[in-house]
């Protein structure tokens, strides 16, 4: 008995068409300088119904079918907590990070899986340090980040272990977009927090190690270690540090340089946030 109420997919299994690409591998290698971050587009106030919102787009990779990351963030609140909630002398911050089902190569479900929950917790740590929470007692703020488009496209090779490294980039983007949305909502912060990523990568030719800012795992042969920081530039403080990987025991590549590079990347991103926010202020005045 066919289900006529819903639009169902085809009965049998189908294979998506895969076209031969004549393009060489060279296009997918990193073209930027090692200390250059990708151009970003940031706009605040995109969702009228939310008290603050922002949209961040990272420029697609070089090459024909690159895909940039696209993130949207909405901030709801500060609003009063439900009556059933216990008293809190502070603003209660809750963060939700969700990939759109179509954002990654592997389809994501509608329920948040463990990696999304993990990102939410990391984002919460990054934001909580920056917010002056005692100015809003008994109120709650929800920060919702949706990743509309991830970094890998359907055409990219499947068998590369890039997803775990992409999570760092996703977190960096989440921190930046959430920070802009919080500023748009007018919630007091000690500083605008921004996210930056740096990685130690090995490249195909010669396998030489180098440190790069804003890495894209697909552009490199392998990623050895990566670090994501949430950084407050005016206070010179780190609200969240996430490092993983293996650094060679010998040589100059140590975690201090890696963290310093990540901080450098987040300083670059911070310039963008302040430029975007001051543009909004100028527009509203003029």
């Amino acid at each position: 008995m066919a289900d006529r109420r819903r639009i169902n997919g085809p009965g049998g299994s189908t294979l998506p068409p895969v076209y031969d690409e004549t393009e060489s591998d060279a296009a997918s290698l990193r073209q930027r300088a090692p200390d250059a971050i990708r151009p970003l587009y940031l706009k605040t106030g995109v969702t009228p119904s939310a008290s603050g919102s922002a949209y961040l787009e990272i420029e697609p990779r070089e090459g024909k079918h690159g895909s940039g990351m696209k993130l949207a963030c909405t901030v709801h609140g500060p609003r009063s907590l439900p009556r059933s909630a216990p008293f809190s002398p502070y603003m209660v911050l809750s963060t939700h990070v969700k990939f759109a089902p179509f954002a990654t190569k592997q389809r994501r479900g509608y329920l948040r899986d463990s990696s999304e929950k993990d990102l939410s917790t990391l984002l919460e740590t990054a934001l909580r340090g920056a917010m002056i929470a005692d100015r809003w007692p008994k109120s709650g703020v929800d920060v919702v980040v949706t990743i509309i488009e991830g970094e890998s496209t359907r055409q990219d090779a499947v068998e590369r272990r890039v997803e775990e490294w992409d999570a760092m980039n996703v977190l960096g983007g989440c921190i930046t977009v959430a920070s802009a949305a919080i500023a748009d909502a007018g919630i007091d912060c000690v500083d605008t927090v921004s996210g930056g990523v740096a990685a130690l990568v090995a490249d195909k030719n010669g396998g030489e190690l180098s440190m790069v800012l804003d890495p894209v795992a697909l552009e490199h042969e392998s990623v050895l270690a990566a670090c994501c920081v949430a950084y407050l530039p005016n206070r010179d403080e780190v609200t969240n540090l996430w490092f993983k990987g293996q650094l060679p025991s010998t040589g100059t590549h140590n975690y201090q340089t890696l963290v310093a590079k990540a901080v450098q990347a987040s300083r670059g991103v911070h310039g963008l946030i302040s430029a975007s926010l001051s543009e909004v202020i100028e527009n509203s005045q003029g």
Binding site: K117, I132, A133, E159, E237, V238, L247
Partner: protein, 349 residues
């Protein structure tokens, strides 16, 4: 993980100032680099490939069971390709009483432990049988007491011990045949052998230490009360790499090298503690309703922290503090060495 500490702002301020002294005075009399005493045993669960139980002095207790299953490798042709999916060969669950297993804090803990174990990529090599088959490891971490303090170091040490105690049946078949195993459990080799030259060399399962900074002092293995006043908390995962001890057998156990594999900032619960009110601004204490003065006090107390009045920490951690935490962890003959030496002394059943 939201843990309610029932400490008043005055108690918090007192604790914070005594912990920021040099040397810090901790409520339980430990030195800043001392671990809480713990009892550990392995091989407590006969139905597992390896198991361990660790009981901390404050009454928290965790057990870990490791079970291994044979699994067909999905893509036997891809010799290299499959290596990238090796992270899926380890399945990990963390169970903490009173918390849902999909609670954000539990998920965070599980991811933290998992990424530390997989960071060096050595574990997957040990699980490889041949090109068609591999072991799949199930790591089940159970906290069997209520979470009295942040359970991260406890769970990590228990996991470390359980993996050290894990044995896999000895392989009898060769090459890419269907695997056949020796049914003598006594002959089963350890996943991480302790002795025996080349086999014992290489990296060992990671351990994760929780370190907090209070003022200028750095405290290891914080208790719940210490965590409640911490300015910042950092989970540092280390991995011991052993060099092959061949020609220079004169060295006594110095072939240990500690390697940093993962780090994460933990949101310190101190941010959620109630702020104190200075008695000058407190109407009930001063008894005068001098409104303009009180307003002035309110404004100043917003910005300038007053001595002895508790205020939840604001902002992040300067990198210098993070750096000194990491240096203290990686220090030769430091806490990590002490913990690893202690765990070395546990019999592997």
């Amino acid at each position: 993980m939201a843990q309610q500490t029932l400490l008043s702002p005055a108690e918090l301020a007192y604790l914070h100032s005594s912990l920021s002294l040099s040397p810090p005075i901790r409520p339980d009399g430990r030195t800043s680099k001392q671990f809480r005493p713990l009892t550990a045993e392995t091989g407590i669960l006969p139905g597992t490939n390896g198991s361990a139980r660790v009981c901390l002095a404050d009454g928290t207790e965790a057990i870990v069971g490791v079970k291994a299953e044979i699994e067909k490798t999905a893509d036997p042709l891809g010799d290299d390709g499959e290596r990238y999916r090796e992270g899926e060969w380890l399945e990990m669950t963390v169970e903490i009483p009173g918390l849902r297993d999909d609670d954000a804090g539990t998920v965070f803990l599980a991811e933290l432990l998992r990424e530390a174990l997989l960071a060096d990529g050595e574990l997957a090599k040990k699980l490889w049988i041949n090109r068609r088959f591999h072991w799949r490891l199930y790591l089940d971490i159970l906290l069997i007491s209520p979470p009295l303090s942040y359970p991260l170091p406890l769970l990590s040490l228990t996991t470390h011990l359980a993996l050290l105690a894990t044995r896999l049946p000895r392989l009898k078949s060769e090459g890419d045949e269907d695997p056949m195993f020796d049914d003598d459990w006594e002959a089963a080799p350890f996943l991480y052998p302790r002795q025996g030259g080349a086999a014992a060399a290489g990296s060992r399962p990671s351990i994760t230490l929780l370190v907090v900074a209070v003022g200028d002092s750095i405290l290891f293995d914080p208790s719940k009360e210490e965590l409640a006043v911490a300015d910042s908390a950092l989970a540092v995962s280390l991995c011991e790499v052993r060099r092959e001890r061949g020609q220079s057998s004169m060295e006594v156990d110095s072939g240990r090298e500690l390697r940093l594999v993962a780090m994460r900032t933990i949101d310190p619960p101190s941010r959620l503690t109630p702020p104190g009110v200075p008695s000058t601004a407190n109407l009930a204490a001063s008894g005068t309703a001098d409104v303009p003065l009180q307003q002035k006090q309110q404004q100043t107390s917003d910005e300038v922290p007053q001595e002895g009045v508790w205020k939840a920490p604001l902002g992040g951690t300067p990198f210098a503090v993070l750096d000194s935490i990491i240096q203290a962890v990686l220090e030769k003959g430091g806490v990590a060495d002490e913990v690893l030496d202690g765990l070395e002394g546990v019999d592997l059943a």
